[in-house]
């Protein structure tokens, strides 16, 4: 899973292996927390019939075994030196790594979230007068063209007109296939 080479991966002198071990420790802690929450919520579920058909039975078993697995992962990580240099697990992870790549990733995530929210909340439909098959353009196409062109321009770094042309072609092809080929309603219909 992780490279075992001893190259220094950060400026406080952690190897990639050490960073991976610390990540395992954090992963174990988070998994353990999830397992405990699952067990608590499972116990609070109603038991309408026999205990054998209780809705919380398997979730509780899964929560309990997940807790054991988290414990095993945590013990392995501690044995591998996960508790030395506390705080080092933040290093090397691009979640908290404010390098250029980290910033670009955060910006991309924000753009994708914005794209999804715009498709969810902006709804309109334009019928093109005189077009065959009652051809129409919906908010999904317009928003997709704007957002994907923007993402392409930022990451592909081609001239904006080229990004725009490619996006229009792909989005329209997709929308036509789904709308007229498969007869699927588009998001703006709802």
């Amino acid at each position: 899973m992780f490279s075992s080479d001893k190259t220094k991966s950060d400026d406080i002198g952690c190897t990639e292996e050490e960073v991976a071990t610390r990540k395992n420790l954090v992963g174990a802690a988070m998994t353990g927390l999830l397992a405990i929450l699952t067990m608590v919520f499972s116990l609070r579920l109603a038991v309408p019939g026999s205990i054998y058909t209780a809705p919380g039975l398997l979730p509780f078993i899964v929560g309990f075994t997940l807790f054991l697995m988290a414990l095993m992962l945590g013990v392995q990580a501690i044995r591998a030196g996960g508790l030395t240099k506390p705080g080092a697990f933040f290093v090397g992870s691009s979640i908290t790594n404010w390098s250029e790549e980290g910033r670009r990733r955060l910006m991309l995530a924000a753009l994708i979230v914005t794209y999804v929210l715009l498709v969810a909340f902006v709804n309109f439909n334009w019928r093109i007068p005189g077009a065959p098959f009652g051809f129409e353009i919906g908010s999904y196409e317009v928003i997709s063209v704007i957002m994907v062109t923007w993402i392409l321009y930022l990451f592909w770094k081609a001239p904006i007109m080229r990004c725009f042309t490619i996006t229009v072609a792909v989005v329209e092809f997709l929308a036509i296939i789904f709308r007229y080929g498969f007869g699927i309603l588009m998001p703006e219909t709802f």
Binding site: K23, P55, T65, A70, L73, Y140, L185
Partner: protein, 516 residues
């Protein structure tokens, strides 16, 4: 009845089967329209399957609508074409862009993408095509030859066995996708199980983990989760990189050599048998088949081949692809003979047949004589078309997917949104996809594999319902009696325990041996 009359009856039965097969073959060959609809279905299926996250089930469900205006025979040929094409199509995007078209293509993705990055994408796909072709043949022939035996074995699977089989599928997937630390694979699978519990419980209708949300009462669909985990998280991971990995546009050799095919013949037949039997078990789909065959293949591989497993092994691709394609033929058996679909895609075939007033079940041969044979001949023809179309589409697909990732990845975004939305025409699924993508990215950063999570979301309801049904059946039965009376279940239980034991204790030793 004496042995002479039994032999005579058997040979009469064989003659009848041969005559039926011949008759149905002539019906199809004399009607070019049937061949055209099948070819159209195969092409659509391959293209659909190649699109990231668009599953076989989704294709089958959505394309049923197109069969409304077709005759019964044409509709069946079309749906069989889509089914066959889709199962293979999933391998294309898995190998070329590391996003499986369908969940059963995940093992192919693990191996094929590693090969594609080394410039062997063409041969990886060629191997997948040949394996798919072979898998379909194995599935169909085994089924025609062994219908009674397979049916008998499939009927032995009751709640307890189904629970153990599904649990084993998740455990195997966890072990295989996280070779150095199987525990991380299992944790990922267990998280998937927790996700599958969200919604109304199937036995009592009690709301579980819905946090009072109306939308969560319906549960979390596996397709939005699949698209999010493999689509959105891959975009988030790859696009911001300064030098994202690129697939070489030079396809290179596509068709595997005869020597190579001969080398993997044993693995092919073993995986074909696994795929057919698992396909014949109601509820266990191509996902379980491909992971199971993949794991057995690794255990049986030579020491030299074992080193390549997980880093680009052709034998691994053969195992997974043969199994998931043999599953197509296998899944048709309980669908047609019992009226119980072998998997979700087979359920769509069932729906298409019902749309054409065909009632499947034990009386199918009485009420619709020859239909079973028509379907098997249809599968054989669809298989030939799949082979031809897949070969024709490889080069354009490699060229398409070898475009810079910075161009390709943003263009996948609208497909992901539309794919997630189209499942149930509910925008909530798009939010599920988005959240799954963000969680998938975080899990990947912490070194947790994503494949077991998806498989567990799919198999979770099966695990839950079957365990509770089995416990209810066993309520007043002693442990020894259960173990003794349910021999198949006991064997499966031992296999499950061995899988965990192997992952925790033995894996480390064998890895050390391999490194030595």
């Amino acid at each position: 009845m004496d042995s002479a009359s039994s032999c005579r009856k058997l040979s009469e039965l064989k003659m009848e089967v041969l005559l039926q097969v011949q008759e149905q073959l002539l019906v199809i060959l004399q009607n070019p329209w049937l061949l055209v609809t099948c070819l159209f279905g195969v092409t659509l299926g391959i293209i659909w399957g190649a699109m990231p996250g668009l599953s076989t089930t989704m294709a089958m469900t959505l394309l049923i609508g197109l069969t409304v205006g077709m005759s019964q025979s044409a509709a069946i040929m079309f749906m069989l074409g889509v089914y066959t094409g889709c199962v293979f199509g999933g391998a294309i995007s898995a190998v070329l862009i590391n996003i499986p078209g369908t969940p059963d293509a995940v093992p192919t993705m693990i191996e094929g993408y590693a090969l594609a990055r080394r410039g062997e994408g063409g041969l990886a796909l060629g191997t997948a095509i040949s394996a798919s072709f072979l898998g379909n043949w194995v599935g169909i022939l085994l089924l025609i030859a062994m219908i009674p035996a397979v049916l008998f074995l499939a009927l032995q699977f009751r709640s307890w066995e189904m629970f153990l089989l599904s649990l084993w599928g998740i455990a195997i997937c966890g072990s295989m996708s996280s070779l150095e630390m199987p525990i991380k694979g299992w944790i990922s699978g267990w998280i998937g199980l927790l996700i599958s519990f969200v919604g109304l419980d199937a036995i009592h209708g009690v709301s579980r983990f819905t946090l009072g949300s109306f939308y969560l009462s319906d549960g979390i669909g596996f397709i939005p989760v699949l698209i999010g985990l493999f689509g959105i998280s891959e975009i988030l991971r790859v696009l911001p990189q300064k030098n994202p990995p690129k697939i070489p546009s030079n396809v290179g050799r596509v068709l595997p050599s005869l020597q190579m095919l001969k080398k993997y013949m044993g693995s092919s037949f073993r995986s074909g048998i696994i795929g057919t039997i698992i396909g014949a078990i109601p509820g266990a789909g191509a996902n379980v088949a491909s992971f199971f065959a993949y794991d057995i293949g690794r255990r049986r591989a030579s020491k030299e081949e074992k080193k390549k497993w997980g880093k680009g092994s052709y034998e691994a691709i053969v195992c997974a692809e043969v199994a998931n394609n043999a599953n197509v033929g296998g899944s048709m058996l309980p669908t047609l003979a019992l009226g119980i679909p072998g998997n979700a895609a087979a359920a769509a075939i069932l729906a298409a047949l019902q749309l054409k007033n065909v009632v499947v079940g034990p009386l199918i041969q009485v009420e619709n004589p020859g239909l079973i044979y028509f379907i098997y001949i249809g599968l054989i023809i669809a298989n030939f078309f799949m082979y031809g179309m897949a070969l024709a589409l490889i080069k354009p697909c490699v060229r398409l997917f070898s475009l810079p990732k910075t161009l390709l990845m943003p263009l996948i975004l609208p497909v992901c949104i539309l794919g997630a939305f189209a499942v149930s025409l509910n925008f909530f699924d798009v939010y599920v996809m988005l959240i799954s993508g963000l969680i998938g990215y975080a899990l990947h950063q912490f070194g947790f594999p994503l494949a077991p999570l998806v498989l567990a979301v799919i198999l979770g309801p099966l695990v839950d319902e079957n365990l509770r049904r089995a416990l209810l059946v066993f309520e007043n039965v002693g442990m020894i009696n259960i173990l003794w009376d349910r021999k198949l279940g006991s064997i499966l239980l031992l296999i499950v325990i061995y899988t965990f034991y192997d992952g925790i204790f033995r894996r480390k030793k064998s890895e050390e041996l391999i490194h030595d």
